[in-house]
Symmetry: C2
Subunit: 580 residues, 2 copies
């Protein structure tokens, strides 16, 4: 089984030395969220997750079972979930007025990374609950908020997001589930949803389904969707779960991995629901929550990157195999193994800065007293969301595959738990919008909104921070070149969008990767600078060598990718589907 | 479940239009192996595999079971193996004097590709049997050949290769299994072997273990290893399987995939064995067989590439999801989906030429009457072996991951059989020498043997074939640039090997990929040329667009990779293991 030790030193380095998370205390309501307090909470979560959750990994991989309409979660999940929610971790970043802990969203992301390393399948239960909370908080009536938010903030009830249907995946406008208005103001829901995470289980007293459905008189496509609350148990007059509603789990999926998370097919047959928000505003109502969910999935990817990386390093440090030129006899003495480990470190540590910084911008966008600061922070959140989601999840699969290579044949054997990382991670590239959808979001939306202000902010910021001083020249010059190439490619993209939209779409995935790698270059610049003044010489050396590795081997990909984007295959769309 | 339809048109195009496989008929013994005969045999195999083997895929994934020392293979394997061997496919390319079919090795590789697409786990049973045949044929006594080869050629008995031990994986010199000489000329074997494919099953009347072990007075390391035959059943005086030998299966591994192939831990306790070849020549005795096995694994990778590619294309042609800019409503109309499908086509079709050409060189190296031609062919086999093994298997994992993306969330669900391709493929990057070991073989051995003659042959050949004519200029010029860059990097590598061996080792994996991609460029040049005169306009167009795609998106990676190789991170080895 893979082992997990929370990377506390790395986490604190990013929060304090790179991102100055201490500035959170200057936001209204966060005066007590000092670096010391955050660090203490991270340590407390780390202990809980290392000791109680990580050991459930193999049982989690054995999966959920489905019996007579009920889902039985893996052994150990129910007591751990109880412990986790009673310790207040579910509503960590939710408002205190609804029973949350009122702590920064940034801290929530740090804990989420650790949960995802310890057991990414478990993450889904609290994560979907948070998504459901956010959707109701943003769009619900006062009464709905009063009923549901406190139960979701404490995790007493869990939540789901019911969007996908057999014919409606990436094309969400194809949703067919119907909601018929009833005389009493409620709705009768009819339809089938698939791929519903946490759709049925016994860990909570109730499950709150947040459902995308279509009113009888609605226009076709995405403009005719509305949102509804459909609880598993209808509430009695005293607000407690009472009679069973007619939403039922038909089956659970047998998947590549993530077995501890049940993935349900739900049918709604004469199910009672309550509309949330205005009719036909469903997509709008989902918008904030969906973007938050994308950041969450990116953080899950980060957690899996960390798990793959730390296990591969430990194994390479311990496993004796062959004598290297250096005379050493452990795997880590072999140059090709170092190449793999440094790739893993460079990507994981770079991705952590990207993910946490995005979290910090969410806090600033929500809480900063100055509207201009809030707006700028929101721009960064918008730009970073597809980067975090797609890059961190692609990285998770890539690094999991590298970890298997480091383990050799043993990596392919289930008992080591390394191949599980790859199986668990691959879903992250698919759900909450495939990574292809993320690329489209970056190119079509984020490059164009506010007349291209989002990427301009990025280029300006990075240029301004590129220093002149000798000790950082090894990264400053290559980073500047990458920024210049990416900026030229961004202009090319913005132009292509207007005149040759298929060329733009064709280059989207490569463009996203080029953007993310440039962002990581900026992160490695900041980490290299901070390392210069770090007290621990070994830590500083590790950061320096990893930064050099990043500059030498990963950053140059930006130029190859940009070149590809700007030089599309002209004949691409001319090949008929039948001739593939 | 993934579907499989043998790509007969592609196979015949490569054999006839690109590689002129008709020249096989001019080799002694192959006069009847005309293109028509080969094509007929390929079709016959295709029908058998499509109809009888491919449908076993899901049952194969359910795995083998281990009970009371016996392994039970998946339902359907035993009757199919009987049918397969009785139809003569096991010994297809083995000599007729030993009961084989005496057909070209090239044809054997084509059939192996198809078997690997239809069910890669099944492939191991006949493939290890072929390896065992080759090892005994190359090193056995006349008596050993007479006893074992006819039974292995017909597949009546199957074979294994017993090399790996818990402490001896990539470092084969660490093997500890002992062979004690007995008064009667036999040996008593004592030890434990792990990861033994086909180590125990009931599909054949006997299992011939080919075992690497150490004589009592042997020197340490690889120079003290010898090889032994240890049959599962000792032979009675009439040559039939008699008493059970004391080699036993202790357990089978639970793996990421390849579940239909049993992976056994075998113990040898007072087991009776017969030495093959001279004492302490074990590594030498394994050499030919190991190289053949590496080509075989590369072909398994090709088979999985094909399976991923054809399923993704079919799904994208059929699945309606979202309206594309073109107005089309199937997945294949979306530019980002085309990007993925063309990546898959460009790699699979390019890899097929590499793999088959290597097979053809094996035939030439064995059978051509002219010693100079045989030598040149052997050079190509030596050069190509690590390329085929590492590139085709890395590609299999990469394309399997892309196929999952094309399927979206459905790709993650087991019933579609797409995630199985990734799980089944990942082992290919590990066994028969990890892909890191292949890179070392290419760099340390293949670049230096015969004073660098191997890569020189490649550069000369490709330069000579780069044409001047306008219709191929789109690929000729970029290919020439790639060749120049790769050649310069080869010289850099050869120099680094002498003076900075860790730099050379560090760049090995990237260098191998750059080499393979340049080779694929040469393949796409040849396919583009052949397509110009192809009768089917749709097929010709598909080849042309895919070649353009390859030139635009994959070939440029050569320059990025070469740049990386020639600019190693200097401080890499200075980071202490503890500071990772």
């Amino acid at each position: 089984m893979a082992r997990y030790q929370a990377p506390l030193r790395e986490i604190n380095f990013v929060l304090n030395d790179i991102l100055d998370a201490g500035r959170l205390t200057r936001l209204p309501g966060f005066s007590e969220a000092t670096p010391d307090v955050l660090s203490g909470l991270v340590e407390e979560a780390a202990r809980l997750l290392e000791e109680q959750l990580a050991p459930l990994s193999a049982k989690s991989d054995a999966g959920c079972t489905f019996q007579d309409g009920e889902v039985i979660v893996p052994e150990g999940f129910k007591p751990f979930y109880k412990l986790y929610r009673e310790s207040g971790w579910v509503g960590l970043a939710q408002k205190t007025e609804y029973g949350g802990q009122g702590l920064p969203y940034t801290l929530g992301k740090v804990v989420e990374e650790m949960v995802s390393s310890a057991n990414v399948a478990f993450t889904l239960y609290p994560a979907l609950t948070a998504s459901c909370f956010e959707a109701i908080e943003a769009n619900g009536s006062e009464e709905q908020k009063k009923i549901y938010l406190p139960r979701l903030a404490t995790g007493e009830w869990t939540g789901t997001m019911c969007m996908t249907e057999p014919q409606a995946g990436s094309d969400i406008g194809a949703v067919k589930t119907r909601a018929y208005p009833q005389a009493d103001g409620r709705y009768r829901l009819e339809g089938t949803k698939i791929f519903i995470s946490s759709g049925e289980h016994q860990m909570a007293d109730n499950i709150v389904h947040f459902v995308l459905a279509r009113l009888p008189d609605s226009p076709p496509g995405v403009k005719g969707l509305s949102t509804f609350i459909v609880p598993k148990f209808l509430l009695s007059t005293d607000g407690l779960p009472g009679a069973r509603n007619t939403v039922r789990c038909l089956s659970i999926e047998h998947k590549m991995g993530l077995h501890g998370s049940c993935t349900c097919t739900l049918t709604f047959e004469n199910a009672k629901g309550w509309r949330v928000g205005e009719p036909n505003q469903g997509i709008h109502n989902m918008f904030v929550m969906m973007n938050m969910a994308r950041i969450m999935v990116g953080v899950q990817g980060l957690g899996q990157c960390e798990l793959a990386t730390q296990n591969a390093i430990r194994y390479a440090q311990e496993r004796r195999q062959g004598k290297a030129a250096s005379g050493g006899e452990t795997l880590i003495e072999h140059p090709d193994v170092r190449r793999m480990l440094l790739t893993m470190k460079a990507m994981t540590e770079g991705a952590r800065v990207l993910a946490y910084e995005t979290g910090l911008y969410v806090d600033l966008s929500r809480h900063h007293p100055d509207a201009a600061v809030r707006q700028e922070a929101q721009d960064w959140v918008d730009l970073n969301t597809p980067l975090v989601k797609a890059f961190c999840t692609d990285a998770a699969v890539e690094l999991a595959a590298l970890a298997i290579q480091v383990y050799g044949g043993h990596g392919y054997i289930r008992e080591h738990g390394i191949e599980q990382i790859l199986r668990d991670s691959k879903i992250l590239c698919l759900y909450e919008g495939t990574n292809g959808i993320q690329a489209m979001d970056l190119v079509r939306r984020k490059l164009t909104q506010h007349e291209g202000r989002l990427p301009r902010r990025f280029f300006e910021r990075v240029r301004n921070e590129i220093p002149d001083d000798a000790p950082l020249r090894f990264i400053a010059q290559p980073l500047l070149k990458a920024v210049e190439d990416l900026e030229a490619t961004t202009l090319w993209m913005q132009d292509a969008l207007r005149t040759r939209s298929e060329d733009a779409a064709f280059g989207g995935a490569d463009f996203l990767r080029a953007f993310a790698l440039t962002y990581l270059g900026y992160n490695w610049l900041r980490m290299s600078r901070a390392a210069l003044r770090h007290a621990d010489a070994g830590f500083a050396k590790s950061k320096r060598v990893t930064a050099e590795f990043f500059v030498q081997r990963l950053l140059p990909q930006v130029h190859a990718l940009c070149g590809t984007v700007r030089n599309p295959t002209q004949s691409l769309m001319s090949l008929s589907a039948a001739n593939f």
